[in-house]
């Protein structure tokens, strides 16, 4: 992914030219504003004109609902408590899974025998969608905290492992040649080449598994929970409150976005040598 971005496609606005109406309306920021305001306006109008009947709430009503939830205790805790309940599950499941999966993936890529033992069993589990585990984890661990963490861990395990495995395998062979020419041993190869070179891939895997983690969390909480953002959505669904459903969706999107931002920031600190497309 180290090819240059087409410099033509990166919007260069040109030198200092005179004012032009056309350039003004095709300015990126102007277009962003137009698009967002149209989006919210359409949402608001569709809700106000009841095109979907009662089942869509106006944006302001949703915000109002969220604000109301911060003030009152809803099902035992206020909004912050619900957000924290979900976030804690994701954090525990995610760190458990990545702590096992990343080293295992590295081992599999570095050692043929580990690979021969683990890979076939892993391939059996790989195509199963993590959400399919929801029922069996409830059967095994009941409806408590652990069954939710289990689903999140299962979901995050696969992309973590796959990416660290592929990250090592796709290291450019020239790099190995360099370290061998410089007189490095197998140990140096692993520490000096494999780990740093596979870092970007590992982080890409963490990024993917984090978004999977939020999806799994939601599935688990929708099935049964007494707190968390999925619970808010489910309660909104059961009691037919679109504002609550939309509020829950917004919250979970916000948290997913924030956590992926956090991973990106950590990645920038830990491996500044990463190249690739930063856009999108």
């Amino acid at each position: 992914m180290s090819r240059a971005i087409a410099n033509e496609t990166v919007g260069i606005s040109g030198g200092r030219e005179g004012f032009s109406f056309y350039r003004c309306i095709t300015n990126t920021w102007f277009l962003y504003c137009v698009s967002l305001s149209v989006f919210f306006l359409v949402w608001d109008r569709v809700a106000a004109w009841r095109i979907f009947g009662d089942s869509l709430a106006q944006p302001l009503v949703v915000l109002d609902k969220l604000y109301e939830l911060t003030q009152i205790r809803f099902a035992g805790t206020n909004l912050g408590g619900h957000i924290w309940a979900s976030t804690r599950r994701v954090l525990i499941g995610f760190s458990l899974a990545s702590a096992i999966a990343v080293p295992l993936g590295l081992c599999m890529a570095l050692n043929r025998y580990t690979n021969a033992v683990v890979k076939p069993v892993f391939d059996l589990f790989k195509p199963m969608p993590p959400i399919a585990w929801v029922s069996i984890s409830i059967l095994w661990f009941g409806v408590g905290e652990f069954s939710k963490i289990f689903i999140i861990a299962i979901g995050t395990f696969v992309p973590c492992l796959l990416n660290s495995y592929n990250g090592v395998r796709l290291v450019e062979p020239e790099l190995y040649d360099v370290i061998r020419v410089l007189g490095g041993k197998r140990k140096d190869e692993i520490i000096e080449v494999c780990f740093p070179a596979s870092f970007p891939a590992i982080f890409a895997g963490l990024q993917i598994s984090l978004s999977v983690a939020w999806t799994c969390l939601l599935a688990a909480e929708l099935m049964n929970a007494r707190d968390g953002m999925g619970f808010l959505i489910k309660r909104g669904m059961d009691t037919y409150q679109p504002a609550l459903v939309l509020g829950g969706m917004i919250l979970i999107a916000l948290m997913a976005w924030l956590s992926s931002l956090a991973i990106t920031l950590i990645e920038r600190r830990l491996c500044p040598w990463k190249t690739g497309i930063e856009n999108l």
């Binding site: 090819r3 240059a4 971005i5 087409a6 410099n7 033509e8 496609t9 095709t26 300015n27 990126t28 277009l31 962003y32 698009s35 967002l36 989006f39 979907f52 089942s55 869509l56 043929r112 025998y113 021969a116 033992v117 683990v118 890979k119 076939p120 069993v121 059996l124 589990f125 195509p127 199963m128 969608p129 959400i131 399919a132 029922s135 069996i136 409830i138 059967l139 095994w140 978004s211 999806t215 939601l218 599935a219 929708l222 959505i233 489910k234 909104g236 669904m237 037919y240 679109p242 459903v245 829950g248 969706m249 979970i252 999107a253 916000l254 997913a256 976005w257 992926s260 856009n279 999108l280």
Partner: protein
């Protein structure tokens, strides 16, 4: 006279046996753990029982109301319709976003707003809007599949070699010609990458959609198994979802290989 010698790469014997051995040991441990009562049989069904249930379910609609083929067909239908729609919308949108600045400016903010929402979060709204029929599930799968399509085709266009674009400009090609003749073909490998990713997303979210709101389908089979406390049904459902997902992925892979035969990756 043969001009070349065939190179034989020998894998050591243990490396060839180990994969089969590990799967066999895994299945054996699973079977034994349940048979000997280490794991109670209300929690997990042994592989042999799952297999015999699979044979039964081919003809028996009990206890969840449909034979396996009906469940699989329902799921397949939903997944493929949603998948097709997401390709139809996502790929052109992503390609256009990569090349035309106006399209990017208009579509990007909305896309960025929708993207972080996990697709199954839409379930309640789709149930309100479309009921629990086909349309609601197709909508969720569509939302799930469209994200990787847009991202990959966008990045594919963005990664077009600048030299080629400049050359096309020198020869007097206009914007539209460059887009059709240069950016789209060079984005194709990325677009085909999206086919696989989108399929995986669609398949995952299909199960999610069916767990919550359905009356047939493989996801529904899993839910019913859980509700009836029948671990064999749950495992059978999981296995059939996994196998059919893998088969679909394999088919897409074959199509991809055929279509992209001449393109260097």
């Amino acid at each position: 006279m043969q001009a070349y010698k065939e190179v034989v790469v020998k894998t050591p014997l243990p490396l060839r046996i180990l994969p089969y051995l590990s799967v066999a040991v895994f299945l054996l441990i699973w079977e034994l753990a349940v048979r000997t009562g280490m794991i109670p049989s209300v929690l997990l069904a042994p592989p042999s029982q799952v297999f015999s249930l699979f044979i039964d379910k081919l003809t028996q609609p009990n206890p969840d109301g449909a034979v396996l083929a009906v469940h699989a067909w329902t799921s397949l239908q939903e997944a493929l319709i949603g998948y097709g729609l997401s390709l139809l919308v996502g790929i052109p949108l992503g390609l256009a976003m990569g090349w035309f600045r106006v399209v990017e400016g208009l579509a990007r903010p909305i896309f960025e707003l929708i993207r972080p929402i996990p697709p199954i979060a839409w379930i309640p709204l789709t149930v309100f809007w479309f009921g629990i029929g086909l349309a609601g599930k197709v909508f969720i799968i569509w939302i799930a599949g469209i994200v990787p399509c847009v991202i990959n085709s966008y990045v594919g266009v963005r990664m077009t070699q600048p030299t080629l674009i400049q050359m096309a400009r020198t020869y007097g090609a206009n914007d539209w010609q460059i887009f059709c003749g240069l950016c789209v073909p060079s984005a194709l490998p990325m677009v085909f990458g999206a086919l696989q990713i989108a399929l995986a997303y669609c398949w995952t979210n299909l199960v999610g959609a069916e767990l919550l709101a359905a009356n047939t389908g493989l996801g529904y089979l899993i839910t019913m198994g859980g509700r009836l406390a029948r671990p064999d049904i749950v495992v059978l459902g999981m296995v059939s979802v996994g196998v059919s997902g893998a088969v679909l992925g394999f088919i897409i892979d074959c199509i991809e290989k055929r279509l992209l035969a001449g393109i260097r990756r």
